[in-house]
């Protein structure tokens, strides 16, 4: 039992180590180092031996010395003897090993005797593995987007694996792609259009949604349940089935290529979820406040502006942020309704750029960074509000 657990523990931890080192090697390759093999066999042997040695030594040496010793041995063998690579790479390997030995230091021979110990170990390592795996898989495309926008066409073609950025060069050369897209491709104008459309959508949606949500939350009227259920069902209907009729109608009314047209469509598509989110919050506001207001002869307009809105700032901000994000990211309608470069939004402009096969990819990525950064910034900064919006309005997307 104990031998089996020991071997299993060593195997699991070794696979984890192989994964860690492999990611580090990929990142190092992308900095221009020429590493042509993962050397999995060697890392496997070392990792296995370290795990076993760790169990064997146990508490006889202080864990910090143990970590340093193991890491140094590994770095010396792997980095110095096998691959002649720069110092920073080996420092990275040392830190990874240090982290790894620290992680396994809580497992001991005695612990391995306990019930389910292998499952516990497997779960622990799977969690660690998952954190690293998902961080890598998610952040890598964003990292690539950013780095590519700082490179030149030639550098990208000569060595597509070299992601290193030369910070020594002139600021003008470093940000060349950004200068180009703002100067030659009028991205400044597209940012303005996108901002007007998104902010406009937020404002109009709120103006329409707050009274409607208040009525649904508070007042009794014929067709109320029908209204609140149909709001959600309407929301499930996809944009793609609206596109052709809207396109024909907008063409005949001359609303294509206009900001007004986009505003109408965006407002209509975000209204259902805005009403749904707001009415849920309005219901949680105590009724007594309004009853007092009614005694004071306040009209419904007064009730909404003086009582409801001040009390629901958190809900309104989360709706506003959520609607802003939808409008900013929207692509389908802007593709259909805009074909004049003067009225493009950012998303449509980037798609238009990519339609030209000659467009260098670093310009495309610079544009992508420009359209992504505001959204990510808002998301990280207002995450608390946005997450509640995402969960409530999650039928979208």
């Amino acid at each position: 039992m104990r031998t089996k657990n020991t071997i299993l523990f060593s195997l699991i931890s070794t696979f984890f180590l192989i994964f860690l080192i492999s990611i580090w090697k990929i990142l190092a390759t992308l900095q221009g180092l020429s590493i042509n093999s993962f050397n999995i066999e060697i890392i496997f042997i070392f990792g296995f031996l370290i795990s076993l040695a760790h169990l064997g030594i146990g508490d006889r040496i202080k864990s910090i010395y143990k970590s340093i010793i193991f890491s140094s041995i590994f770095v010396f063998c792997d980095g110095y003897l096998i691959q002649k690579l720069p110092i920073w790479y080996n420092v990275g390997v040392f830190l990874i090993l240090y982290f790894f030995v620290n992680k396994i230091s809580k497992y001991t021979f005695i612990g391995l005797k306990e019930e389910h110990s292998t499952q516990v170990i497997l779960f622990d390592f799977l969690t660690l593995f998952g954190i690293l795996f998902f961080s890598f898989v998610i952040l890598f495309p964003f990292y690539m987007m950013l780095v590519t926008s700082f490179k030149t066409q030639i550098a990208l073609l000569v060595n597509p694996l070299d992601f290193s950025i030369n910070f020594g060069q002139d600021i003008k050369d470093l940000f060349k792609s950004y200068f180009v897209i703002f100067k030659s491709y009028k991205f400044g104008k597209y940012i303005v259009t996108s901002t007007i459309v998104s902010v406009g959508t937020v404002v109009i949606t709120l103006i329409f949604a707050i009274p409607a949500a208040y009525a649904v939350a508070r007042l009794n009227f014929f067709g109320k349940t029908f209204l609140s259920t149909s709001i959600l069902i309407i929301y499930m209907f996809p944009a793609i089935v609206l596109v052709i009729p809207l396109y024909t109608i907008f063409s005949q009314l001359g609303l294509r290529n206009s900001i007004e047209g986009l505003l109408i469509v965006y407002t209509a598509t975000t209204l259902p979820v805005a009403i749904y989110m707001l009415q849920g919050y309005f219901k949680s506001i105590p009724k007594e406040l309004e009853e007092a207001a009614i005694l004071d002869k306040l009209s419904w307009f007064g009730i909404i502006t003086k009582i409801i809105i001040p009390l629901s700032i958190p809900a309104i901000s989360s709706v506003a942020l959520y609607v802003f994000m939808i409008a900013w990211n929207e692509f389908l309608f802007s593709l259909m309704f805009l074909d004049n470069p003067n009225s493009f939004t950012l998303s449509r402009a980037i798609q238009y750029l990519s339609g030209d096969a000659e467009t260098p990819r670093q310009y495309l990525m610079a544009g992508s960074v420009v359209v992504t950064l505001p959204v990510l910034f808002i998301f990280v900064y207002f995450e608390k509000y946005l997450v509640s919006g995402l969960t409530a309005g999650s039928v979208k997307g």
């Binding site: 390759t29 992308l30 093999s37 019930e115 389910h116 779960f123 969690t127 998902f134 961080s135 998610i138 952040l139 964003f142 690539m144 990208l156 694996l161 329409f208 009274p211 409607a212 208040y214 649904v216 007042l219 009794n220 109320k224 309407i234 209907f237 996809p238 944009a239 793609i240 609206l242 052709i244 009729p245 809207l246 024909t248 109608i249 005949q252 469509v265 209509a268 598509t269 009403i275 994000m325 900013w328 990211n329 692509f331 389908l332 259909m336 950012l346 980037i350 990519s354 990819r361 495309l364 990525m365 544009g367 992508s368 992504t372 946005l386 997450v387 995402l390 969960t391 999650s394 997307g397």
Partner: protein
């Protein structure tokens, strides 16, 4: 007294909800019904512009006679296919103007030239000329004359409003164009995209539900693909997967995992042999599904995490006392607790993946075996410019959607009954 109060309440409610309801109905519900109408018509993209009578006004002075002026109107029907009926024309002139040659179709009263041109067939063109003289012999201001624009009016059939219907579109959609293949592709895309995003959602939610350093940061990072604009992400992936100089292929070549680059987005099939069985994998479709999963698992993650955090701790403590293993705890406590969320998620994601257009459009444009129903709407309606066909495909989508919803609510109703 009570009655009037209830009445005013009703009135207020209608006033408050009306703007929103009107907007949503006109932009969302009306088009869905308009689709039905259009889908039974033979309409092309070029037909939807309403034909207009147009006139270009050219002012020419006549040499030797400064008090006279020639005005040329280049008249035309803007449409190449449709007739305009009962075209009427109006233009105004300064007070001192007298007309020299009056066309029999026109009349000139109080400085106002009125003409009835009758019917203009498609592509109709005419150069219509009038000569004016000032009665006081004063000099003519050409700029001022030019700035007055003639008014033209005419009746034409709006091709969308006539009552010629045809079943051709539906015949074409259902029996040509490899409809079965289209449905299968859409189904693969929807089903595997949904299942994949839910599986990854469960894994990541389980992961973030543990305590570790940097947990809140991890939670935001996991949501990045969901909140970032699809255009940026799709093009980044395209660069990443590019067969010639994409990062992924270069990495795989560098580590000698593959010998020749793989065109992940441009190759329809790839031959794979596992345990001696050879089979064809739909490569581009698989890649597109991967993107789908990558972009939408955060939503599943968010939902499932919220549910996981609401599971009472006592359940796990009791299981610990009974000596349950981590896997037993996961399968016997966690999984049953999240099945309700998973079924809701499954339906939401299924419907939305079924309708997803942007992702596939931006990655492959529907090429290499990734043509799904929504892509087909776009291709029929805008690439082939057959609006009627595009609408017919939209109707197919709506009908399938209604069927999903019907089955889902039936199943949901059954489960509610059982509880």
């Amino acid at each position: 007294m009570n009655d009037t109060l209830a009445n005013t309440e009703k009135k207020t409610a209608y006033i408050l909800t009306l703007p929103a309801v009107l907007l949503v109905f006109s932009i969302i519900l009306f088009p869905i019904f308009a689709n039905i109408w259009i889908s039974f018509k033979e309409v092309e993209l070029k037909d939807i512009r309403i034909p207009e009578p147009r006139a270009k006004k050219i002012v020419k002075s006549i040499s030797d006679e400064p008090s006279k002026i020639k005005i040329l109107y280049k008249l035309r029907n803007s449409s190449l296919i449709q007739e305009i009926r009962d075209v009427s024309f109006q233009d105004n002139f300064p007070k001192t103007f007298e007309i020299e040659n009056l066309d029999p179709r026109c009349s000139y009263k109080r400085q106002n030239l009125k003409c009835e041109f009758g019917n203009w067939p498609a592509k109709y063109r005419e150069n219509f000329q009038v000569i004016f003289a000032t009665n006081d012999g004063s000099k003519i201001d050409k700029k001022n004359l030019k700035s007055i624009k003639p008014k033209l009016e005419g009746k034409s059939d709006n091709i969308l409003l006539n009552t010629n219907f045809t079943l051709k579109n539906f015949k074409k959609v259902l029996f040509e164009n490899e409809f079965v293949d289209l449905l299968l592709t859409t189904f693969y895309y929807t089903f595997f995209g949904t299942v994949g995003s839910i599986v990854f959602g469960i894994l990541t939610a389980q992961m973030v539900n543990q305590k570790f350093y940097g947990r809140t940061f991890m939670r935001s990072v996991l949501l990045f693909p969901y909140v970032a604009p699809v255009v940026a992400l799709a093009y980044t992936w395209e660069l990443l997967l590019d067969p010639n100089s994409g990062t992924l292929n270069s990495l795989l070549l560098n580590y000698q995992i593959i010998e020749t680059p793989i065109n992940l987005l441009g190759q329809k099939y790839i031959e794979i042999s596992i345990l001696g069985f050879d089979f064809k994998l739909r490569l581009a479709l698989t890649t597109v599904i991967m993107f789908e999963i990558w972009r939408y698992f955060p939503l599943a993650f968010l939902f499932i995490l919220a549910r996981l955090q609401a599971i009472p701790k006592e359940l796990y403590e009791a299981a610990d006392v009974d000596g349950a293993s981590p896997f037993q705890k996961f399968f016997n406590i966690t999984l049953p607790q999240i099945t309700a969320v998973i079924s809701i998620l499954f339906m939401i994601r299924f419907i939305w993946n079924f309708n997803k257009f942007e992702d596939v459009f931006l990655l492959t444009g529907g090429a290499s075996g990734t043509r799904t129903l929504p892509i087909n709407v776009y291709q029929q309606g805008f690439a082939i410019s057959d609006i009627g066909m595009g609408s017919a495909v939209s109707i197919v989508i709506v009908v399938l959607l209604l069927m999903f919803m019907f089955f889902y609510f039936k199943l949901l109703g059954k489960r509610v009954d059982e509880n």
